[in-house]
Subunit: 585 residues, 2 copies
């Protein structure tokens, strides 16, 4: 080793020891007679001392020549520091340097290597290897390593086997768009990169592996939003001879174990909510339950507290729903107008916002005073369980749209009211998802989870006439309003699987060509099985209290799928194209 | 859970308990009044008992209807077995079944699900999910999981961080052929799949990660030999502020730890050999040192015990080398002819074989009696340290070829003499590889390891005039004649890296375009660093005492790079091609 210690481990106990440290120059303070240098490595910072008269002249000269981020090795004696720094673990000592070697000089970095940096996103991505030197970025990746370690430890303890499934697989038309890989040895044919190891893990169950997991890269060629990556990592799991309940308890255990080990937080038992309730009460299949503010239907179902008073907007609406924002009656007209404008942006698309101020003096002021009496509105107040000082916000229209819009408004109000503390964690199981959803554009049914998800046994007969009513044995885990995992009980019988493909519009030949290997496997003794997959990058970002998964990926790609550091993708040679028997159009 | 216990855990302690087991029907023995059924899962086999008169008639009927590999659930009482089977852990008990349910019937499998199967390679690959049910195949993958676990535990303890590097990277002309992935969002451009995370792990060192590892999939589009896979797994590692010695001791420690934990074998300290010695003494850079049989040069270097006696073959030869096969003087003429024919096959390409029998009575018989006196040949016997009863085998010709051929002969003799026991393990470090090798066809120099390997400091001046003489700080670990890992101290200075690319025939522009990101990174404070990568599939096959890596991969591809189970690669749709802006030629 070029060093005897790291920059994070020396303390008063080591005083008088001769040591060699290696690292990067974080900062040099030259006070004329004395020079202090902060030497940094992954483990910490240690202060080096150079003193006119005591330090060899040559060493002093070298110290004066150093710039930020030079890589040096320093030999010296550990001494007690006069003015101690209790913010760092090595703050009680410093090194009186007797030898100093520059291992590699450094050009001035294009941005500050500090927690608070002056570098913008683009420059930091281009020089990602410098960005990764910043403590906060490196700590995210250390956290990621810890989450992976504890995940493996938990699953290993439960007899799960990690099995690597192939990366070069087969393109299938169902699901998102595949990345493909031309095969040189099979001209005109292509591999696909897996969107998930779904069929392989099911085959491992057919093979009797009983409990499988894998922390595995997956790939989707989708148009990237801020928080999607073309390659991402999953904790992928499958179990045999289990019910949905077993999967829920096993993986609730995993998540609680991770919170305990990684965050030192004892997460309470994870509550459960049906998809139907989640949509009705929160307008979302991934509600943030750190705060209440549930939806109240003023018109909808059997209830109608709004029609027949001459307010056409509500009269024509399929649904009128509201939320109650505690202590917000003091919102000014300007604030409410601003909220209304926010709702009318095309991303949300609401037509307008109705409000009711329930003032602290008990009086009521609403934006629909001219249609509704105080008496009428009192009924709304009761329905919403509003207290004096509260503000009621109401949206209306086509039911699905109104719920989606109110979900956005609820989350926005939660944020504005400080009810979404990233250091507070509330997990939730959402259950009983619909099996199918109808694609209006394509005019056909799609699997909501994927085609291998089992309908609930009691709903199987609905497959013959009421596809939209069929519920699946499918479940999502949601933390703080973010879907972190999802899974289902799987179909394990050839007949039912074939029927699913029919419903999804596959001809028998297409189903056999694409998924014949799986349906055949079901005929050779497939056990009942179920599974789940967690978005690993996302889970890490939640543990890190951050919004973006990109900060938890060592070398992420930008929104155009480019790695700007290595400048990829790039053109390849004609010789390569020829070997692969493809042309660029 | 559909079961209360697995098929591998019940014992006499559980007698009288009511249990539910699930699993596969391994075997049914119907003796009329009694039926015994072996129920199998991953954890073991438990015997089920059905008895005419005692077992409900309906259950008996179901039991009689079962075929091999049916999936069933059985409820019953644990009872002590009359005739115990001490070969299995549950052999003292059986289950008196009261309820039996078929969870899924099974068609007759196309081959026997037993350790000794009647299925050939092709059928077992097509039905890999059935092959994986066989104990010996599943155990290989369980072993793989254990090797991964202990690898991670060892490295985690030493403060290594596992970091995931990207799979969608950039194609580079150096090294093997890349698999490429057309980018839809960047038409005409391609990602490449990594042949190794080499440049990324070096960037992590520049980023100050200090100690990195990753168990990671890598990809090479090469023509496949029996024991190559287009996708394979590496244990990839890198360290900063270290010398070659630190890497050797850290990873020798890892391998010894794995042998201890996985195989319960205490491997002795790993000996070291230079590349030059390995080639001279074994004709191979990966000698199998489970047995001696080192090469002796009869003509070569300063020695010449063969020239000037009228035997033109030896007179014209650059090198005459032999090995001594202990106790093989009794080899018949037929056996020696057969060895000669084996050597003359085109795979080896020897012109002929000279032998000397040193009989137990002290007499000598050789195939070149007519050119050499007993006196002459006695000198050979002394040089080879042969004892009465030994057989000397001699090859000659151009030095490199003769060594390669004798290496093959030595290994073959080792095998024939039973000196290569797969359960005996001998590891070896091979050091001081040449930095460069000359490609005759391409008429240029190639990096023997890769372009990032550092020359030995004392050999750097040779870069200006004697490229073939430059030794690298590169090392391989060899176990039982198989290269399981290799690495090097890296170049960490831009100037030297640039010089390497020049030597390899890159123009300055090409070097900058392909590897500019790395050379730029070296200018911002790159620490000295070194690393190693182990072939994980290969390592597992060695621990498993097997020759083929394919047995240690869950879903391997065949020699044409095809997955015959899922039938991949395959054609993709015109719509997909169009979106990707490519044509099939």
């Amino acid at each position: 080793m070029l060093r005897t210690h790291t920059c994070g481990e020396l303390s008063l106990e080591d005083v008088n020891q001769s040591v060699v440290l290696c690292g990067w120059v974080q900062r040099v303070r030259d006070k004329g007679g004395m020079i202090w240098l902060d030497l940094r490595d992954r483990y910490g910072i240690t202060q080096l001392l150079f003193e006119e008269g005591k330090t060899p002249a040559q060493v002093l000269e070298t110290a004066r020549s150093l710039g930020r981020e030079f890589v040096v090795s320093a030999k010296g004696e550990v001494i007690e520091r006069l003015s101690k720094n209790d913010k760092i673990s090595t703050g009680a000592i410093e090194i009186r340097v007797s030898e100093l070697n520059v291992l590699n000089p450094a050009k001035l970095p294009p941005f500050l290597i500090e927690d608070e940096t002056d570098g913008g996103d683009d420059i930091r991505m281009k020089y990602r290897y410098l960005d990764l030197r910043r403590n906060i970025v490196r700590k995210n990746l250390q956290l990621r390593h810890q989450v992976a370690r504890y995940t493996r430890a938990y699953l290993d303890d439960l007899d799960f086997i990690e099995v690597e499934t192939p990366v070069l697989i087969k393109s299938t038309p169902e699901g998102a768009r595949d990345f493909v890989v031309p095969s040189r040895m099979n001209p005109g044919q292509f591999y696909a990169l897996p969107q998930s190891p779904q069929t392989f893990k099911q085959l491992l169950m057919v093979a009797g592996f009983d409990r499988y997991y894998q922390i595995v890269k997956c790939f989707r060629d989708e148009d990237l939003r801020a928080d999607r990556q073309p390659e991402f990592t999953q904790i992928d799991c499958e179990m045999s001879f289990v019910t949905q309940e077993d999967v829920l308890s096993t993986f609730e255990g995993m998540i609680r174990n991770l919170f305990s080990k990684v965050k030192n937080i004892e997460l309470p038992e994870v509550p459960r909510m049906t998809y139907a309730d989640a949509m009705r009460q929160y307008g979302s299949d991934k509600p943030d339950i750190r705060f209440e503010m549930k939806f109240t239907e003023l018109k909808g179902g059997d209830q109608d507290l709004t029609s027949g008073k001459g307010f056409g907007v509500f009269d024509d609406a399929e649904l009128v729903i509201g939320i109650c924002a505690t202590d917000c009656a003091s919102y000014t007209r300007k604030q409410i107008d601003e909220l209304t404008d926010w709702l009318k942006r095309p991303q949300i698309g609401a037509k307008g916002l109705v409000y009711v101020r329930y003032n602290t003096d008990g009086s009521i002021k609403s934006s629909v005073d001219k249609f509704y009496s105080d008496e009428d509105i009192k009924k709304w107040v009761v329905a919403l369980n509003a207290k004096p000082g509260d503000l009621i916000l109401i949206l209306s229209g086509q039911a699905d749209k109104a719920r989606k819009q109110l979900n956005e408004l609820r989350l926005e109000m939660g944020t504005r009211l400080g009810l979404r503390n990233p250091e507070e964690y509330r997990a939730l199981w959402v259950l009983d998802f619909p099996l199918l959803e109808f694609g209006e554009t394509e005019n056909r049914w799609f699997a909501m989870h994927h085609p291998f998800t089992s309908p609930k046994i009691e709903d199987i007969e609905l497959l013959d006439h009421s596809l939209g009513m069929v519920r699946a044995n499918a479940y999502d885990m949601v933390i703080n309003g973010v879907e972190v995992g999802g899974g289902s009980v799987r179909i394990f019988e050839r007949g039912l699987q074939q029927k699913m493909f029919e419903i999804l519009g596959f001809s028998q030949e297409e189903a056999q060509e694409q998924f014949g290997f799986l349906m055949n496997a079901f005929e050779f003794g497939a056990p009942p099985h179920a599974g789940i997959a967690f978005g690993f990058d996302r889970l890490c970002s939640i543990f890190g209290g951050a919004d973006s998964i990109r900060d938890f990926i060592a070398f992420p790609k930008n929104n155009s799928g480019r790695d700007v550091m290595i400048d990829s993708p790039s053109v390849i040679s004609d010789a390569q194209l020829k070997e692969l028997a493809i042309n660029v159009v």
